[in-house]
């Protein structure tokens, strides 16, 4: 079972994600992804879904959807 300090239920995890600061991090990441998508081939990695770089992405979700 997960350690005691990890979420005991999916609801606990959802609550933790709603804590102050998480939305800001998510927003910054989403901005990064939009920037990548807008500048393929630029110094920032392009709009690649993760599996472009790691086809063996089964480490996560057995290859995630976009």
């Amino acid at each position: 079972m997960p350690h005691r300090s990890t979420a005991a239920t999916a609801g606990d995890l959802a609550d933790r994600v709603r804590a102050e600061g998480v939305a800001e991090l998510v927003g910054e990441a989403e901005q990064t992804w939009r920037t990548r998508a807008a500048t393929p081939g630029g110094p920032v990695a392009g709009p690649r879904p993760f599996e472009d770089a790691f086809p063996t992405f089964y480490q996560f979700s057995n290859r995630p959807q976009k």
Binding site: H3, G11, G21, V26, A53, T56, F60, S61, P64, Q65
Partner: protein, 386 residues
Amino acid sequence: MVDATDTDVPAGVAQYTGMRGISAVPSYVILQPTTLCNLDCAYCYLPARKFDRRMPVEVAAATAATVNAWAAERDRFSVVWHGGEPLAAGREHLAALMAPFNGVEHHIQTNATLIDDAWCDFFREHDVHIGLSVDGPEARTALRVDRAGREAYSRIVRGAEALRRHDIPFAALCVVSDPSAELARELYPYFRELGCYALGINIEEHEGVNDRSNAYAEAAVRGFWAELTAQWRTDRAIELRDVEFAIRYAGALLHGDADAILPRQMDPIPTIAHDGAVTLLSPELAGFSSPHYGDFATGNVLHQPLDEIVRRAGEAAWIGEYLRGVEACRAVCPYFGFCGGAHAANRYFEHGRFDGTVTEHCRNSKIHLMEGVLDHAAPQHRGDGR
């Protein structure tokens, strides 16, 4: 599709609908051009890496007979050449193995030590996507040695330099054997300097012939992921696989579409060994058997079409048990929507069976990853494990 068994869902656990059964068509295959690796890393899981057992072209051709049809149906299809060390097969042989494939993207995961100008020309000619296996600065790469015990780091660096000289983009995979916040502070700038466009972190796993423990302290692992998130946040030039995927999932929870993250079905991930034997779902199981389950390979492309092997996946006893294990994860684990269930090899090598649930790999690379990212973002709400 291979059916999975539904289970009741306890109160408080969301019903995630992805990862039900195994898709009849994968999105990539992994091929082993040779079992040989010129290195002998302390944590390697491969059992036959000192032998040069090369894949005959007939195996590649038999695989391509199915893969080319799959690729024709999809926008993209990847063929991943994985070892051993794929470059140890030599350019001529690797080109012969690639020749039967049409309409696919070729990927090579390499330790970089053999890369030179000639290999860079080969990568260009065959439009190969490159992933390097690098564990960080020299002192952190001490577990990567050759068979004589000599350090591999200087050769790895030369290989990366050759790629940069030829403007060939590369991703990097880093095995972490001693996770800590201090290590994260060291690794991110290092890989930024190395020049990779993407970085994946693999916390060392207890699997295959690697029997080193991977039971790390929760605080150390969460601290590692939290600090790596902080590093990325200050300089987001690298596509940081694990952290970004955790953020993606956190965003999906916030946006209310978390159930859309997981694929609807599992990718069968066929791994075709040098001799044509096919192992599904977990490449780390290739070449292994057990007294209880028998050989984990479920067919051979020299005797049976690959699509038929995939279609009949559920006939293997261990795969049926694994599917029950995935349903057990779905029923009890709050992180299932992020993770999709413990991987088959981790279950087997940690538990000796496939229908258990959480593994040390789950903790290190899924649960503590998600919690570490959230620790960074909202430290005031972090749990009592720090």
